[in-house]
C-alpha cells in the first residue's frame, strides 16, 4: 500500500469535517476521491500533504507513519484547484524548485526539468513566466513540477474545476496519459462524478465526512452500496416502498408489488425501504404487457436531449420515474409499462441505509436479465 489512511478523523473546533475515514492506494493506482463540496475532501488532502494534523487516525506513506511528519519531509506532490505556480519564477525554475530541495546535481536537475517539461509538452516554454501561459499550460507545468521530484503519491485537488469544459476534457485525457507514462500513484480529488469515473481505477465516494462507498467505478455505479452513492454517481430515480415479503424479497409501491427473484432478507416485513433505479436501465413497453418486474403508469413529461429522450412516467401519485430512451418516445398522457430489470434495482433499508439487494456479480446478473433487445 503506497498511501494508507487509517481511521482519519478531523474536527475544526466542534465541527466534524472527516469522520473515521480509511482507505488505501496501491502503487501505480489512480484513485478518485469523489464527493460534493464540503464533504471533507480538502481536509483529507491537507492531512495527506501534512498541512493539517488530523484530530485522530494515521496517515502512512509506503508503510511509514507520517502523521506527525511536516509537509517538506513527506514525498507528496500536490496540484491545487487554483494555480500555485510561483509567479516570480520562470516555468523552468518552477519545475526545478522541487528538485533543488533534494540532493540532485545541477546538471542532472536541468536534464530532469527538460524531461518533465517534455512530458507535458511544454519544453519550448521553459523560460516563460507563468503569467504568459494559458490556463491549460499552467496546469501542465504544475503537473510537471509536482511529479518531477518523483513523489510517493501525487495528489490532484480539483485540478480541472476552474477550467472551461472543453479544456477540462482535454486535460483529463492528458492527466490519464501522464499518469500512465509515469506510473505515479495518484489521488484525484473531485466533485465531478463523470471526471472521476472517466479517470479512476477505483473510486472513494464521500458524503458529509464519511466514506459512502469504495470500489471500481462501474461496480459502484451498477450496485451502489449506499443511497448516497446511488444518487450521487449518475442519475437515479428514488422512491420509498414497503417490504412485504422476505424470500424472495418483495416490495410494495402503492398497489403494485415488485418481486425480486433470487433475493432474500432478514428485515421484518412492513419495514420501510428506499429504492433506487437508474434511468438508463429502465425501458418502456406498451401498456398491458405486465411482467413481474414492471410498473404501469402514465407519461407526464418528455424532454428531448438530442441523443436521447428523458421520459417521465408517473407510476403512483407522487412517484415519477425518469426513463432514458433513444427510440421515438410515447406521447404525453399515454399509458405505458415501465420495465425494471432486477439488477437495476437497489433497495436500501429505511433507517440504516444498508443495501438489501445483493451486489450481483455480472455473470449472476445475466440469469435475471431479460433477454430483451436494448431499446
Amino acid at each position: 500500500m503506497t498511501l494508507e489512511l487509517d481511521s482519519l478523523t478531523h474536527r475544526y473546533g466542534d465541527e466534524l469535517a472527516v469522520d473515521d475515514v480509511s482507505f488505501g492506494i496501491e502503487s501505480g493506482e489512480l484513485v478518485a476521491l469523489l464527493g460534493p463540496s464540503g464533504c471533507g475532501k480538502t481536509t483529507i488532502v491537507q492531512a495527506i500533504t501534512g498541512h493539517v494534523r488530523p484530530t485522530s487516525g494515521r496517515v502512512r506513506l509506503r508503510g511509514t507513519d507520517v502523521t506527525d511528519t511536516p509537509p517538506e519531509s513527506r514525498e507528496v506532490g500536490i496540484v491545487f484547484q487554483r494555480s500555485t505556480l510561483f509567479p516570480h519564477m520562470t516555468v523552468g525554475e518552477n519545475v526545478a524548485y522541487g528538485l533543488a530541495a533534494r540532493d540532485i546535481e545541477p546538471e542532472r536537475r536541468e536534464q530532469l526539468v527538460d524531461e518533465y517539461l517534455e512530458l507535458v509538452d511544454l519544453d519550448d516554454q521553459r523560460t516563460a513566466l507563468p503569467e504568459a501561459l494559458s490556463g491549460g499550460q499552467r496546469r501542465r507545468v504544475e503537473l510537471a513540477r509536482a511529479i518531477a521530484p518523483q513523489p510517493d503519491v501525487l495528489v490532484l485537488d480539483e485540478p480541472l474545476s476552474a477550467l472551461d469544459r472543453a479544456l477540462r476534457e482535454r486535460l483529463r485525457d492528458e492527466i490519464a496519459r501522464i499518469q500512465r507514462e509515469t506510473g505515479v500513484t495518484t489521488l484525484f480529488v473531485t466533485h465531478d462524478q463523470e471526471e472521476a469515473m472517466a479517470l479512476a481505477d477505483r473510486l472513494v465516494v464521500m458524503n458529509d465526512g464519511d466514506v459512502s462507498g469504495i470500489g471500481a467505478p462501474r461496480t459502484l455505479y451498477e450496485s451502489p452500496p449506499t443511497p448516497f452513492v446511488a444518487s450521487f454517481l449518475g442519475r437515479s430515480n428514488t422512491f420509498s416502498a414497503t417490504l412485504t415479503a422476505r424470500q424472495p424479497m418483495t416490495v410494495a409501491l402503492g398497489d403494485h408489488e415488485i418481486v425480486i427473484d433470487g433475493t432474500e432478507t432478514d428485515r421484518p416485513t412492513g419495514s420501510d425501504v428506499t429504492c433506487h433505479l437508474r434511468p438508463d436501465a429502465l425501458s418502456i413497453r406498451p401498456s398491458g404487457s405486465d411482467r413481474a418486474l414492471s410498473l404501469p403508469g402514465e407519461v407526464t413529461r418528455i424532454a428531448d436531449l438530442g441523443r436521447r429522450y428523458d421520459v417521465t412516467v408517473r407510476v403512483e401519485p407522487g412517484v415519477e420515474l425518469v426513463v432514458e430512451r433513444t427510440a421515438a418516445p410515447p406521447t404525453i398522457g399515454e399509458s405505458v409499462t415501465v420495465e425494471l430489470p432486477s439488477h437495476a434495482l437497489s433497495i436500501f433499508s429505511g433507517e440504516e441505509n444498508e443495501r438489501l439487494t445483493e451486489r450481483a456479480a455480472p455473470e449472476a446478473r445475466s440469469q435475471f436479465d431479460d433477454p430483451r433487445p436494448q431499446s
Binding site: 500536490i78 510561483f86 516570480h88
Partner: protein, 272 residues
C-alpha cells in the same frame, strides 16, 4: 415608446458618471497642492545653500540621515515577521495585538513621546540602568531612534501584513510539499511575493521616521534632527528660516521614495 426613451436617457447620462467624484477628488487635490506651491514659491527669497551649510543644519541633517535608516531597519526586521505572523495565524488575543500595532498611529506623537519617557526616561529603572551603562535612552541619538521607531514602525507592519495576506497560502503549501521548510518557504516564496507591499511599507516608515517631530521632541530634544532643528529655526526666524531644511527633508524623502519605486519596481506606494 416610454421604454425607448428611458434607455436613451440612461445612455446620455452615462458620460458624466464620474463627474461628481472627480470634482470632489479635485478639490482635495488642490488642497494638497496649494501649500506645496505656496511654500516652494518662497524658496527664491531664502538662500537655501547658505541655510544648509551652517554647522547646526549640517548636524541636524547628519543626525536625521543616521537615525531614520536605523529606525526603519529596526522596524522592518522586527515588523515584517510580526506582519507575517498576523497574516498567517489566528490566536486568542489577536485583536488585542492588532490594536497594539495601531496604537502608536492613533495616539498623538507628542503623547507617545511622553509615554516613552515614562517607560525609558532617565529616572525609570530601564533609563537609569542604561544611563549608568553609558547609553542614555533620552536626549541621545538612541532616544531619537526609540521615538522614531515607536511612531513609524506600524506603517511597515500594516502594509507588509496586507502584502502577506494577498499571497495565496497554497503557494506556501506547494513550496512546503516540494521539500522546503517554513523558513526557506518564507524566504523563497512569501517574501518575494509580498516584496512590493513590504517596500511600500518601508518607504512609508522611513518617511514617517525622518519627519518625526512630536515624540522625538519629548524623548530627545537634543541632539537635533532635521524636524527639531526646523522647529528651533522657526521659533527664532519664522517661515523663511526653515525653508532650506524643509526643502532638504522633502528632497531626501522624495529621493528615497523614487529610488525604492525604481529598484523595487513598485508601481505606487499603496497598490496592494
Amino acid at each position: 415608446m416610454s421604454l425607448d426613451r428611458s434607455t436613451r436617457l440612461r445612455t446620455s447620462s452615462r458620460a458624466p458618471e464620474l463627474l461628481l467624484p472627480a470634482l470632489l477628488g479635485g478639490l482635495i487635490l488642490v488642497y494638497f497642492a496649494l501649500p506645496f506651491v505656496a511654500f516652494l514659491s518662497r524658496t527664491g527669497t531664502a538662500n537655501v545653500v547658505a541655510g544648509l551649510s551652517t554647522p547646526a543644519a549640517q548636524g541636524a541633517i547628519r543626525n536625521s540621515l543616521l537615525t531614520a535608516p536605523i529606525s526603519t531597519a529596526i522596524a522592518t526586521v522586527l515588523g515584517v515577521p510580526l506582519a507575517y505572523v498576523l497574516a498567517r495565524t489566528s490566536f486568542p488575543g489577536k485583536r488585542l495585538v492588532e490594536a497594539l500595532v495601531i496604537l502608536p498611529l492613533i495616539i498623538p506623537p507628542v503623547v507617545g513621546g511622553a509615554m516613552l519617557i515614562t517607560a525609558v526616561g532617565r529616572f525609570t529603572p530601564i533609563g537609569s540602568a542604561a544611563t549608568a551603562a553609558g547609553v542614555p535612552l533620552t536626549d541621545s541619538l538612541i532616544g531619537v531612534i526609540l521615538a522614531q521607531t515607536f511612531v513609524a514602525a506600524p506603517f511597515v507592519v500594516i502594509t507588509a501584513r496586507a502584502g502577506f495576506g494577498a499571497v495565496d497560502e497554497r503557494l506556501e503549501q506547494a513550496s512546503r510539499s516540494l521539500g522546503y521548510g517554513p523558513l526557506a518557504t518564507f524566504w523563497n516564496v512569501s517574501l518575494p511575493l509580498a516584496r512590493g507591499a513590504i517596500l511600500a511599507g518601508i518607504v512609508l516608515t522611513f518617511a514617517r521616521a525622518i519627519g518625526e517631530f512630536g515624540a522625538t521632541m519629548m524623548v530627545a530634544y537634543n541632539p537635533r534632527t532635521m524636524p527639531t532643528r526646523i522647529w528651533v529655526d522657526f521659533i527664532a526666524g519664522g517661515i523663511d528660516a526653515i525653508v532650506p531644511l524643509a526643502l532638504a527633508l522633502l528632497v531626501i524623502t522624495l529621493v528615497v521614495l523614487s529610488a525604492v519605486q525604481r529598484f523595487g519596481r513598485v508601481p505606487t506606494v499603496i497598490d496592494e
